[in-house]
């Protein structure tokens, strides 16, 4: 194949397919084993300094916040983040000093709420280095290539743009059509965090609502930490196996954490906690404010249960359930400022 263009972004998370097969053969058990553990143990074991990290969900939808807070608590450093649809996940990890490098499809923003003060500051000052650009579909297809055990997948995105020039993709002449085509290299994150609706003790996991890119990402992950709203008996999984998005052999750790995605949205369970996200966006305008936030909500609490009490306990969680089900009106501090 004739190579037409080589993107000069850093190639992160790529492995030769045979090297990956050999790694899987020796590191991923096919035995049905009880994988229940704690967030503390899971982070100690599977999230070393310098790891390449990706989060399931959509940046502020269905994010495993319980594990993110634990990564901050254990003061992990020099992580490289896969910034696919990254919103609250990357913002808070960058602000806490855990992430020093990021490949960006989307980051430094909070969608309708505006830009993220803390992570923008880190990117503009060089504290967090952008190692490459990519698009959302592009990133997701990097995970698809990894999930398929292939070195790359072809796609018709990014062509002709600086996004491609700053990515790790390449353009070749397609041997079938003769047209230029973009080759997206596989990306195998060292560790992926995912929050799901239900899962059994072995790791068989079900997600309600849109899968976003978690089907591909779970299969691309070398290590996969799953937090779940509830651990169910494997009989529940086996009674409706067509609902299983993630089979157990992909999963390394299972932790039951009800409301474990707070303050991000958990479809059909609870809506964004806009009061909490608003507090973060307000405090994170300065480094001192961000430090105050971490002291209060991460370092200052002993576990996720205590954190939930601090953010308003059962009353607030019940309100978020009602908003998610369109039974209560949305209140958001940033919305008040817009008016």
């Amino acid at each position: 194949m004739n190579t037409l263009q080589v993107g000069h972004g850093e190639l992160i998370g790529w492995h030769d397919p045979d090297e990956h097969r050999a790694w899987v053969a020796t590191h991923k058990s096919r035995a049905l084993e009880d994988k229940r553990t704690t967030v503390r143990e899971a982070v100690e074991r599977y999230v070393p300094d310098g790891a390449i990290l990706a989060c399931g969900g959509f940046g502020h939808i269905r994010v495993s916040m319980a594990v993110i807070y634990e990564i901050i608590r254990q003061r992990r450093r020099d992580l490289t983040f896969c910034g696919k649809t990254a919103v609250h996940d990357s913002d808070i990890l960058i602000a806490a000093g855990c992430i020093s490098r990021i490949e960006v499809a989307y980051a430094f923003g909070h969608e309708l709420r505006g830009l993220s003060p803390a992570s923008r500051r880190a990117a503009e000052s060089g504290r967090c280095q952008v190692v490459g650009e990519i698009s959302n579909a592009g990133y997701q297809w990097r995970f698809l290539a990894a999930a398929m055990g292939l070195p790359f997948v072809p796609a018709r995105v990014m062509l002709g743009t600086d996004t491609l020039a700053h990515s790790s993709a390449r353009v070749v002449e397609d041997p079938f059509s003769g047209k230029p085509i973009c080759l997206l290299p596989a990306c195998y994150p060292d560790v992926v965090l995912m929050h799901v609706h239900r899962c059994d003790r072995y790791g068989d996991a079900q997600i309600d609502g849109i899968a976003i890119e978690d089907f591909e990402l779970a299969r691309a992950a070398r290590r996969l930490i799953v937090t779940t709203e509830e651990i169910v008996d494997d009989g529940v999984i086996r009674s409706q196996p067509w609902r299983t998005l993630i089979p157990y052999y992909l999963v390394d750790a299972v932790i039951e954490v009800p409301y474990g995605a707070h303050p991000t949205l958990m479809p059909d369970r609870y809506y964004f906690d806009e009061a909490h996200i608003g507090e973060w966006l307000r405090l994170s305008k300065t480094d001192a404010g961000a430090a105050e936030y971490f002291d209060k909500y991460v370092y200052g609490v002993d576990g996720f249960g205590e954190y939930l009490e601090l953010v308003g306990g059962q009353e607030q969680l019940e309100y978020l359930r009602q908003v998610e089900h369109l039974e209560a009106p949305l209140r958001a501090p940033w919305l008040e400022e817009k008016k």
Binding site: T85, E133, S135, T161, P180, I210
Partner: protein, 255 residues
């Protein structure tokens, strides 16, 4: 001039008017969502709305905050995945796509990545997100953005999303899907198309009360201005009422 509508209502109304019944549209949150929902509740009940995170054909009850929000698959025909909807777009199933930007050039190329030099940016913006994919894969893109001399520039600091690149045939030469590209651009001053021959930005209509001189003053490059420039139609009361219903908190429309 005395108006009884907000600038955002006008933009959303004009954008909605471009969407046809029984076609499909990729929308983001904010104004595009209002345009899509308004079109659905008026002239285009069969409009298929698609979200990049996997929501397909929802009956959106209230404005979502995120393109992955549960509102994006409320009473939808499918709650799917990004791979599915991006593949549908790559296969030609998606007619329209909405885009916004911090900078635009005469060919409709867009920048949402950096202001200044990429390696040492003056301002770091969120990046492509799904924008490059929408701009690459949909048949026709509709760009909605604010217009001023810093945003309408002859050369972008960074091409995040492809418009017509550097002119006629450039998209196809780069390997992008044939026959796709920017269709309309709507700003607070007027509506533009892209000239068939040169693929450069061409004024089609000014908003009520806006002069061609104002349009020219708010661009750093020479715009194509034909002799017969139209005027956009302001939103009638019924459209405004529907938009208030869609966005009761004024999240996007304002007060």
């Amino acid at each position: 001039m005395n108006r009884d509508y907000t600038p955002i209502e006008l933009l959303a109304y004009v954008a909605a008017g471009l969407l046809e019944d029984n076609k499909s549209v990729f929308v983001g949150t904010g104004l595009p969502m209002i345009a899509g929902m308004l079109a659905q509740r008026t002239h285009a009940p069969g409009l298929l709305i698609i979200f990049e995170a996997g929501g397909i054909g929802p009956q959106v009850p209230v404005l979502p905050i995120s393109v992955g929000d549960s509102r994006t698959f409320y009473r939808a025909v499918s709650a799917s995945s990004m791979h599915d909807v991006m593949s549908a777009s790559q296969s030609g199933y998606v007619d329209y796509g909405f885009l916004g930007a911090a900078q635009i050039d005469p060919y409709g190329n867009l920048n949402t990545t950096v202001i200044g030099d990429w390696s040492a940016p003056r301002a770091r913006l969120p990046g492509s997100g799904g924008a490059n994919d929408v701009g690459s894969l949909c048949w026709r893109t509709i760009i909605v953005m604010r217009q001023d001399r810093r945003r309408f520039v002859p050369k972008l600091d960074f091409i995040t999303t492809p418009g017509y690149l550097d002119g006629p045939g450039a998209r196809e030469r780069a390997g992008l899907p044939a026959g796709s590209g920017p269709y309309r651009l709507i700003t607070q001053l007027g509506m533009y198309g892209f000239d068939e021959q040169s693929r450069q930005m061409k004024l089609l209509a000014t908003h009520p009360g806006v002069t061609v001189e104002e349009i020219r003053d708010n661009s750093s490059f020479e715009l194509i201005v034909p002799e017969d420039v139209g005027t956009t139609e302001p939103p009638p009361p019924e459209a405004r009422r529907i938009m208030r219903e869609i966005d009761p908190t004024g999240m996007v429309i304002g007060k």
